[in-house]
C-alpha cells in the first residue's frame, strides 16, 4: 500500500545531544503506527521535525503522499494535512472552545464562515467534547477537555495523517479509556495515525505496528506483540528506568 507519510534518514541534534538519529519509517493509509520509548528518547522531537513546529530536522526527508514536504513552511505542512497534538495540552486560552477549533477549520480550507463553523462543531462532536461547553473559554476548561479541544482542532484540519503525542498523559483511568475509544473511532473512520504513548498497554491495544526509540535511535519495529517481547525493548524500558 502507498505510504501516506514517510520519513527518510531524519536526524536532529541539540548541540552535542543527538535527539533523533537517522530515523526511517512509513505509515500507510488507515494504519496506526505506535511510537514508544522511555522519556527523553526523542519521540516528541520526531513529531517536531515532521511538522517543523517549532524546528526542522537537521537532515533527512519527509514525504506526504510521496511528495517531499520538508522544504515547506510549517503552516503549509499543516494545511496539506499533517495534523498534530502536543504532549502538553496546548490551546488558545482566551478563545472559546469552538473558536479554537474554528481557527483550524479556517486555516485549512478557507470556506465560508458557516461551512467552517459547521466543520468546527462536527470536529468537537467527533472528539466527544460536550456540546454545552462550546462557548466556554478554553483556558478555563479542565485538562481532559482541553485535550479534546486540541484533538478536535487537529481533526478540523481534515488531516491526511494525525500525529498524537501522549494523548493519555496526565489523565485519569476513565479519561484514558475515553481517549482509547476516540482513537478506535478515528481508526474505524480510516484515519491514518502516528501515536506516541509512554503507557504500553494503550499503545499495543490500538497500534497496527510499533516502533521503539531509545536515545533517538530506532531499536525495534514490527508487530506490537513481537516488539514488546524484544529483549532490547525490555532492556530500554525496564533496565534503565527503575
Amino acid at each position: 500500500m502507498a505510504a501516506v507519510l514517510e520519513a527518510r534518514g531524519l536526524s536532529k541534534s541539540f548541540g552535542g545531544l543527538q535527539a533523533v538519529v537517522d530515523i526511517d519509517f512509513s505509515v500507510a493509509q488507515g494504519e496506526v503506527l505506535g511510537i514508544a520509548g522511555p522519556n527523553g528518547s526523542g519521540k516528541s522531537t520526531l513529531f517536531n521535525i515532521l511538522t517543523k513546529v517549532p524546528f526542522a530536522a537537521d537532515r533527512g526527508a519527509v514525504l506526504l503522499d510521496g511528495r517531499p514536504i520538508q522544504r515547506l513552511r510549517a503552516h503549509e505542512i499543516a494545511r496539506l494535512g499533517v495534523a498534530r497534538t502536543f504532549q502538553r495540552e496546548s490551546v488558545f486560552p482566551s478563545l472559546s472552545a469552538v473558536d479554537n477549533v474554528l481557527l483550524a477549520a479556517e486555516g485549512a480550507r478557507r470556506g465560508n464562515f458557516a461551512a467552517n463553523l459547521a466543520a468546527a462543531e462536527q470536529a468537537l462532536d467527533l472528539a466527544g467534547f460536550p456540546a454545552t461547553l462550546h462557548n466556554m473559554v478554553a483556558g478555563q476548561l479542565p485538562v481532559f477537555l482541553r485535550k479534546l479541544v486540541m484533538i478536535a482542532s487537529a481533526l478540523a484540519l481534515q488531516p491526511r495523517v494525525l500525529l498524537l503525542d501522549e494523548p493519555a498523559s496526565s489523565l485519569t483511568p476513565q479519561e484514558i479509556e475515553r481517549i482509547r475509544d476516540l482513537i478506535a473511532k478515528l481508526v474505524g473512520e480510516g484515519m491514518t495515525i502516528l501515536l506516541i504513548e509512554h503507557v504500553l498497554p494503550l499503545l499495543t491495544a490500538v497500534s497496527d505496528r510499533l516502533m521503539v526509540l531509545d536515545h533517538g535511535t530506532l531499536i525495534a519495529s514490527g508487530l506490537p506483540a513481537d516488539v514488546i517481547a524484544n529483549p532490547a525493548v525490555i532492556e530500554a524500558y525496564l533496565g534503565r528506568e527503575r
Binding site: V53, P54, A78, F86, L103, A104, E106, G107, S153, A154
Partner: protein
C-alpha cells in the same frame, strides 16, 4: 475649584485619554503578539502626522483633511510592514530578541526622525483641522477638532475590537499572539500575521499622529512624549485584554489633566512615572509579563 473648572479638567483628561488609548493599542498588540517593545512607535506617530500634512494640506498635495488622514494611515501600514521585515523579523527566533529589537527599533526611530527632518525640515507645521471653531458641550467649550478626534478615535477603537473578536483574520491574530506554535499547526502563517500586526500598530500610531498634528504643532520628535505616555498606559493597564489599556489610558489622561492643573505641566511626567513605578512595585508580577500575554 468650581464645577466649570472640574468639568473642563475632566474633559481635557478624557480627550487625552482617548488619544493615549489609541497610541497604547499599537504598543500593546505588538508586545503581546511579537513579544517585543517597539521603540519606533513614537516615530510612527510623527511620520503619520507629516504624511497627513503632505497629502492633505494646501501647502502639500492639497487633497484635504480626510483624504490626507486616510492616505497617511495606509502608508503607515505599509511602513510598519517594511520596518517589521527589516528590523524585527531577522531576529524572530533569537533568544535575545527583546534586547536586540530594543536596539534595532531605537535605530529605526532615529533614522525615521532624521528622515522627517531632512524631508520636511525642522520648522513647525500644523495640519489644518477638519473643523475649526468651538462647540459647547454642556458646561464646557471644546474645540470642534477635539470633538472630531474623540468621535473618530472611539469609532476606530470599536472597529479594532470588533475586528479582533469577530473576523477570521482578527481571530488569527489573537491566536498567534496567544500560542505561536499551536497557530502554526492550525495552518496559520505566523510570519504574515506578525507583519500584519505590526502594520496595524503602525497604522493606528499614524492615526494618532494625524490628530496630534492637528491640535498641536508638529516636529520630527513629536512622538517622543506620546511614546512615553503610551508606555505608562501599557504598564499600568497590562495587556491581558484589549480593553485594559483603554481604561488605563483614560486614567492616565485624567491624572495628567489634574496634575497639569495642580502641579504644573513640567512635573506631570514625573507624577506619571512615579505612579507607574509604584504600580510596578505593588504588582511586579507582570502587568507587562508573559503570563498575561493574550489579547
Amino acid at each position: 475649584m468650581d464645577l466649570q473648572t472640574l468639568v473642563s479638567i475632566l474633559e481635557s483628561g478624557a480627550a487625552l485619554g482617548i488619544l493615549y488609548a489609541l497610541m497604547a493599542f499599537g504598543l500593546a498588540i505588538v508586545w503581546t503578539t511579537l513579544g517585543i517593545f517597539n521603540f519606533a512607535h513614537g516615530a510612527f506617530i510623527a511620520t503619520g502626522a507629516y504624511l497627513a500634512w503632505q497629502f492633505g494640506n494646501a501647502a502639500g498635495f492639497g487633497l484635504g483633511y480626510w483624504a490626507g488622514a486616510i492616505l497617511a494611515v495606509l502608508a503607515m501600514f505599509a511602513l510598519g510592514v517594511v520596518v517589521q521585515t527589516l528590523l524585527v523579523r531577522p531576529f524572530e527566533r533569537h533568544r535575545d530578541i527583546v534586547l536586540l529589537t530594543v536596539i534595532t527599533t531605537l535605530a529605526g526611530a532615529s533614522i525615521i526622525t532624521n528622515l522627517l527632518n531632512v524631508i520636511w525640515g525642522p520648522r513647525m507645521k500644523q495640519i489644518e483641522p477638519a473643523l475649526g471653531g468651538e462647540v459647547t458641550v454642556g458646561l464646557v467649550h471644546v474645540r470642534s477638532q477635539e470633538l472630531v478626534m474623540v468621535v473618530v478615535v472611539a469609532a476606530t477603537l470599536f472597529a479594532i475590537g470588533w475586528f479582533l473578536l469577530r473576523t477570521p483574520l482578527g481571530r488569527s491574530m489573537r491566536a498567534v499572539a496567544q500560542n505561536r506554535e499551536a497557530a502554526q499547526l492550525m495552518g496559520l502563517d505566523v510570519r504574515l500575521l506578525y507583519a500584519l500586526t505590526f502594520g496595524l500598530a503602525a497604522a493606528v500610531a499614524g492615526l494618532a499622529g494625524v490628530f496630534i498634528g492637528s491640535i498641536r504643532f508638529m516636529s520630527p520628535t513629536m512622538g517622543d512624549d506620546p511614546l512615553q505616555k503610551a508606555l505608562v498606559v501599557v504598564i499600568l493597564g497590562g495587556v491581558a485584554r484589549f480593553t485594559s489599556s483603554i481604561y488605563a489610558a483614560f486614567a492616565v489622561g485624567i491624572i495628567e489633566a489634574f496634575s497639569t492643573y495642580f502641579v504644573g505641566l513640567y512635573w506631570t511626567p514625573a507624577v506619571l512615572f512615579g505612579l507607574m513605578i509604584a504600580v510596578l512595585i505593588i504588582k511586579p508580577e507582570g502587568l507587562f509579563g508573559r503570563r498575561q500575554r493574550s489579547v
